[in-house]
Amino acid sequence: MPPSSIEIDAISKRFGRHQALNAMSLAVRAGEFMSILGPSGCGKSTLLRLIAGLDDPDSGEIRVAGQPGKRPGKRRLGDRGVAFVFQTYALYPNLSGYDNIAAPLVMRELNGFERLPGARLLPAVARKRRSIDSRVRAIAELLQVAPWLTRKPGQLSGGQRQRIALGRALVREPSLFLLDEPFANLDAALRHQTRAELTALQKRLGTTTLFVTHDQSEAMAMSDRVAVMFEGAIRQVATPDELYRNPVDLDVARFLSQPHLNCLPAKVILDGHVLIGGEHVALADARQPGTEGIVGFRPEHATLRPRPASATVPGTLPGVVERIEHAGADVFVFVRLLAPDTTCTIRAASHEMSRWAPGTPCAVALDAASGWFFPRRPMQTAALGRTEVAAA
């Protein structure tokens, strides 16, 4: 089937008192690989189930391939070109790997009579069976699961099950491919390998793909575009690069900067200048003097400089090294700032380690072009709710 586009128009979904989706809208282009990225409980799995037609929205509309999506009553779910890979894989426990992959074809292309074991003797049925068999074999070859086709899911490892689940989804050449945290139950090495394979596969097949994950590195590595979701609504849709460089708000910035984002309360004093804890600091992103908000910067967006014990270096933030953490080629230096009373994380080359023994006075110099300024919103609702915003 040709790849579908999806238009989601102001859909809402409520489970009891929990508003899972709140008038959210999203457009996915045909053939695109889009990740839905967000913390757990943000409604991303609900969104996927609604698109698949497994649930219905309370209000709003979902159009797949440009047609209104409110038709599942007329067509059976299986007749829509939607394939779904579940986090639990949801393999049929009593069927072999082969039968799992063949199931969507058998159920859609053979009627009840043709599915009977003896019906194979009829030439027409035998032809259909052969066609199904060749497609199952081809997918198994593609996913390298051919050796395990005779085994049942209980006899397969997590990675093998995952591939069978992918095969079952891909075998019917869906127009829309939905994956709900498909790598969550794999170990790290396998996750990286499968990630690359899935991306390559999607590029080859050109199927519109929606990929739900809470792992920002996964989303960044695989997607054409990433939709970041918080509290039942989309905050930002952008390419991975754009998202990394220009997050639209503090929640997004923090979610994409794991494990560390430095957040300091600040006030714009001039265009391009902010006041942080009494120090004037250059920051290109700062606009509209008088605005209060938060300066956010990643550990690599600042450098550490030496500082005399009881003095400050103009344009930098004074502090004292608290501790050091190894991270391979780099080290993270945790600096206790003098004002505001908080800790910053700064990345440094590992050979510099000896310079920053705990207790050493230092100055944090922001990279003026890379940091962000997020104006305080009237009702700031930080999903990762730390205290900086409230303090500001």
Binding site: D56, K70, P72, G73
Partner: protein, 297 residues
């Protein structure tokens, strides 16, 4: 929720009704409707073959209430229940506890007690009949050897009911042992270890502290099902004594069978069936109440 039903939900509701439809139809046609009909029949003078019947109020109930044979059967049934319920539950629990405590021969004992559960009661009754035979039966041989008089177990009106109850106990003990064993196997070993740490060393104290409470739901279930089964006694009486001698073993279900299907007295037969139903309903109600309370304790 007040949102209008979506097509998806509608489809699932339709499927739900469709998939339960055969069960509902069968339940209504084969259980609920006939059970209601039996209540109506008990209030009429319907005869098999007639196309009409007259409403006679509680006349059928008055008839059976005044019938000495029926009253006798109620008394017999109560005696039978009174013997079989304690007679099969107390030893059943004891044997189950003894078996659970064994390390060897456990499966041998379990198999032995399992035998009466599956064996056809009709066949086993005929075996018991021979074992209880007044002249050459094994039981009488043993009695004689012990210096006692031989007994005409099944033809002496004074003891026939007790002999039938003995067979009933034999049949039910096995069933109860099996159920108690299943219940005992679900008690976590840690509970016993905790109990012995708390100083409950002796078997009896361990029972009071751990086994008894943990087994309470099974005990309730066993008591109810034993009572219902004892009240439903039919096979042994129908095969061995035909209610006799002189109605001494005639139990309620046997009278019900005779009235309805031997003499084709539909009205009075139905009245007995209704009373039987009411008794079973009462027991089920008691069980549901007690089970509900047991869960909340």
């Amino acid at each position: 929720m007040t949102t209008p039903a979506s097509p998806r939900l509608k489809a699932q509701r339709r499927a739900g009704l469709l998939l339960t439809a055969p069960a509902i139809v069968a339940l209504v046609l084969l259980v609920l409707l006939p059970s209601s009909a039996v209540i109506i029949l008990s209030l009429t003078d319907y005869q098999l073959g007639n196309t009409q019947a007259a409403f006679v109020g509680f006349a059928n109930y008055r008839t059976i209430a005044a019938d000495p044979d029926f009253r006798h059967s109620v008394r017999n049934t109560l005696v039978f229940v009174g013997l079989v319920v304690p007679g099969s539950i107390i030893p059943g629990l004891l044997f189950a506890l003894l078996i659970e405590g064994r390390t060897r021969f456990k499966s041998v004992y379990r198999t032995a007690f399992f035998l009466p559960v599956t064996a056809t009661l009709v066949a086993m009754s005929t075996a018991w009949e021979v074992l209880l035979h007044p002249t050459f039966g094994l039981v009488n041989t043993l009695l004689f050897a012990a210096g006692a008089d031989k007994l005409r177990f099944l033809s002496n009106p004074g003891i026939a009911l007790y002999a039938i109850a003995g067979i009933g106990i034999w049949k039910q003990i096995g069933f109860n042992v099996v159920l108690f064993l299943a219940g005992l196997s679900t008690i976590p070993r840690e509970l016993y270890e905790a109990a012995s740490l708390d100083g409950a060393e002796g078997g009896w104290r361990r029972y009071l502290l751990v086994t008894g409470p943990a087994l309470a739901p099974v005990m309730l279930f066993v008591t109810i099902i034993t009572t219902i089964r004892a009240f439903s006694e039919f096979d042994t009486v129908a095969v061995l004594t035909d209610g006799g001698p002189v109605h001494s073993t005639s139990v309620v279900l046997f009278v019900l069978y005779e009235e309805a299907f031997r003499y084709l007295k539909i009205g009075t037969g139905s009245a007995i069936a209704v009373m039987f139903l009411m008794f079973i309903a009462l027991l089920s109600l008691v069980q549901t109440r007690l089970a509900g309370r047991a869960r909340h304790v």
